[in-house]
Amino acid sequence: MPWWRAGPQLASGEIYLGGYGIWKQRGLPEGVHDPIWARAFVVEANGTALANVVLDLVGIANGAIYEIMDGVVAATGGAIHRDAILVASTHTHAAPDLQGLWGGASAEYRQYVIDRTVAAIVEAYQTRRPSRIYLSTGTAQGNNRRGHGYTDEEVTVLDIVDNATNRRSGTVVNFAVRRAGRPSGARWASANRSREWG
């Protein structure tokens, strides 16, 4: 298998962090600074369920995404359709490389992420409750490090309130920010600020 093929499954236990340098240049990580997460929410309306999961990863290869989709469809008995599952990454530059661009991650860890991501979505589906969704958008100062003329500065907020309790059950914030808060030489796994948003 050529090393540049997306999503290589290393036979060893190695896990490289994605985001900086060329293949394995960064070296192996030195440990974990703070946990990384798979956060999922499921919205169902008119009998159709839409799943959205956000991973603290720099990115994830499509092969792994397909396995997540297949896992969710199987676990929900097809209640969530394959084309109604959105998998996103925060693009932290301090999480294992599941794209296979910076050294890759072990097959064991890849499967671990797939299994737990499926579990997060299934938990969201199984714990869903009648709710109200409030939507708001605004803007915040963006910082396009490459100096491009256009920067997406829109902030979108979904606030979900449980109908039965009238209490907030969750809030989803979407803002295009580059999660590279640690220097390129840092070799600790980290969600890179997304906990503050969590």
Binding site: G31, I36, W37, L55, Y112, T117, A119, I133
Partner: protein, 56 residues
């Protein structure tokens, strides 16, 4: 005039009720999992050195 105003009010109320119905038709759930490499995985990365306590 009064009849027109009453009809308009009814239309507004009906529209508001319809919107409320749409707004309350959602069913939402959340799920979270820690995907940090496990202690065992980190220990292997560190080639036997102590990774310290797992943060999760």
């Amino acid at each position: 005039m009064a009849k027109t105003a009453a009809t308009a009010l009814l239309v507004v109320l009906a529209a508001a009720a319809a919107l409320w119905g749409v707004a309350t038709a959602y069913i939402v759930g959340f799920g979270v999992r820690d995907i940090t490499p496990t202690e065992e995985m980190v220990r292997r990365l560190l080639r036997g050195r102590d990774p310290g306590p797992h943060p999760a």
